[in-house]
């Protein structure tokens, strides 16, 4: 098994954090994993993206020319990356701020009103974790408990106070798509 996921949005949405925390959890569940942030002549407020590969064997390339899963957090990223999604792959959309819809027909599309859910919780910054909740439910790549354990570890003592709202955000995203939906 080799699954590649690409996360994209604008700087500040926690796009790199999404990929990093997923790779961290995959490592703790015993998988081979690579995390590759896009690096380049980037600007503050510009685009951000990263690729996570998860496999039960050695990973040849951390680059995803055709990712199985695309997690799209803003409209420009949708236009940039939708054609890269693998045939039969899935695009997760932050539908709160993306009005457009993918033109790709042979991929699954999941709309997640992450911005609104996070606003309602009182902290728009957790929109990324809402999306990850939905992502982990639908992909089954790793266990929800394993993900939260990693998130707690990454946040450490310094950010312990905001773990609770992140846990709630994760649960809200996870519950968006009940079993079989």
């Amino acid at each position: 098994m080799l699954i590649k996921s690409l996360f994209a949005g604008f700087g500040g949405q926690g796009v790199l954090m999404m990929g990093y925390s997923l790779a961290h959890a995959a490592m703790n569940e015993g998988y081979h994993t690579t995390y590759l942030p896009a690096y380049g002549a980037e600007v503050r407020g510009g685009t951000a993206n990263c690729t996570v590969a998860i496999s039960d064997e050695e990973i040849a390339s951390p680059v995803a020319s055709a990712p199985d899963y695309l997690v799209i957090m803003n409209t420009p990223s949708l236009y940039t990356f939708q054609n890269r999604a693998a045939q039969g792959g899935t695009i997760f959309l932050n539908s709160s701020i993306i009005d457009a819809r993918p033109t790709r027909k042979e991929v699954g599309i999941l709309e997640i009103p992450a911005g609104e859910i996070a606003e309602k919780m009182g902290d728009p910054r957790v929109a990324n974790v809402v999306v990850l909740g939905a992502f982990i439910r639908k992909t089954g790549l790793i266990s929800p408990g394993g993900y939260l354990k990693s998130l707690r570890k990454i946040m450490g003592e310094r950010k312990k106070a905001i773990m609770e709202i992140n846990r709630k955000a994760f649960a809200a995203g996870f519950d968006l798509f009940p079993e079989g939906s």
Binding site: A23, M27, Y35, L36, Y39, A60, S61
Partner: protein
């Protein structure tokens, strides 16, 4: 001990500090900045000295000086910056000073770009600067191997009193992978080589300026004998799926991991293909390559350049029509499926 998820550039810093590196000087350049940043954050905490030099040339000369005084030293840069450091590396080789130089290669020539590339093979393995010298060149293909080889680099540098280069690229530098640190060996480097003032004793000196040609000739032959020893003792390589291989791919670093993915695909369509991955680029594992001369009927050298290691493979095997080449220079990392197509074409 648990694995940690860590970026390639940062793992070099951590492995270096664990190995006892206590002096680092560098100058920023993408895609290796996180290493300089890591050393700025952590070397002083370990009791070492971090200096952001005013230039690449200043930084390499600072490590030369600190090495002469007996410190474990490292500098790092990426392709254009490594070109600037060559004068200092040549001097370290002449002075027989240990030190580790990291090159996270990017697209070139000139300023090129900041994408992963393997265009500096010739520069790294054939001397790089002026004069008749060599540096040991280690080519990691994963973040774990970057951690392991960084520790080994310091030991090799001490053992042979010679600069050692870690040659990787922007992709390995930027990528995060799980890493488990090995226990570094205790340093064994004689204090008799340290220049710390003579006190009451006899003065010692290190010099690279040897005006008498006969003395310089003698020094050159002495270095040469050391390089012969390194060639005899230190080549390293890894093989993958070569047990029944009739077709051998030869690739290093990032290209080698892409090649592994390609080989798995090619095997699925029945091609008996394997990989030889040089881990030391100098000394080049010529004997290992040559050992496949009778076993494999086809060879494919794959590099992220227009063909540099290719020449060492040709030297090992003799130039022949059996040796094919696939190159992607300029900062392109091809997908395994692209390399698999090339394998299928030649199979």
């Amino acid at each position: 001990m648990n694995k940690i998820l860590i970026q390639g550039n940062r793992v070099i810093g951590e492995a270096a500090i664990r190995a006892g590196c206590r002096f680092y000087a560098g100058y920023p350049i993408t895609p290796q900045n996180e290493l300089t940043e890591y050393m700025a954050d952590n070397l002083r905490k370990a009791g070492g000295t971090f200096i952001q030099g005013e230039s690449e040339i200043a930084s390499v000369n600072m490590i030369l000086g600190a090495s002469a005084a007996g410190a474990r030293v490292m500098t790092s840069s990426s392709s254009p910056g490594i070109s600037l450091k060559q004068e200092g590396i040549s001097s370290m080789a002449a002075d027989e000073l240990p030190g580790v130089i990291v090159n996270m290669m990017r697209g070139g020539p000139g300023l090129g770009n900041i994408s992963p590339s393997q265009g500096d093979y010739f520069q790294a393995t054939k001397g790089g600067g002026h004069g008749d010298y060599r540096v040991i060149v280690l080519a990691p293909a994963s973040v774990q191997e970057l951690a392991d080889l960084t520790m080994d680099a310091f030991d090799l540098a001490d053992e042979y009193r010679n600069p050692v280069m870690i040659l990787a690229d922007g992709m390995i530098g930027q990528m995060m992978e799980p890493v488990l640190f090995k226990t570094p060996k205790p340093r064994s480097y004689s204090e008799k080589f340290h220049l710390r003032g003579c006190g009451e004793g006899k003065s010692k000196f290190i010099r690279g300026l040897i005006l008498d040609p006969l003395h310089e000739e003698e020094h050159n032959w002495k270095l040469h004998r050391k390089y012969k020893t390194i060639i005899a003792r230190e080549p390293r390589h890894e093989t993958f799926r070569t047990e029944d291989a009739d077709f051998l791919v030869i690739a290093y670093g990032t290209a080698a991991r892409v090649a592994k993915g390609a080989i798995k695909r090619a095997r699925e369509s029945g091609i008996r293909v394997g990989l030889l991955r040089p881990i030391t680029l100098w000394p080049f594992p010529s004997d290992a390559v040559r050992s496949f001369a009778g076993k494999a009927s086809k060879f494919l050298v794959f590099e992220m350049s227009t063909g540099q290691m290719l020449e060492d493979v040709q030297l090992a095997l003799g130039n022949s029509e059996k040796i094919h080449f696939y190159g992607r220079p300029g900062g392109v990392v091809p997908a395994p499926v692209e390399v698999a197509k090339i394998i299928a074409q030649h199979a």
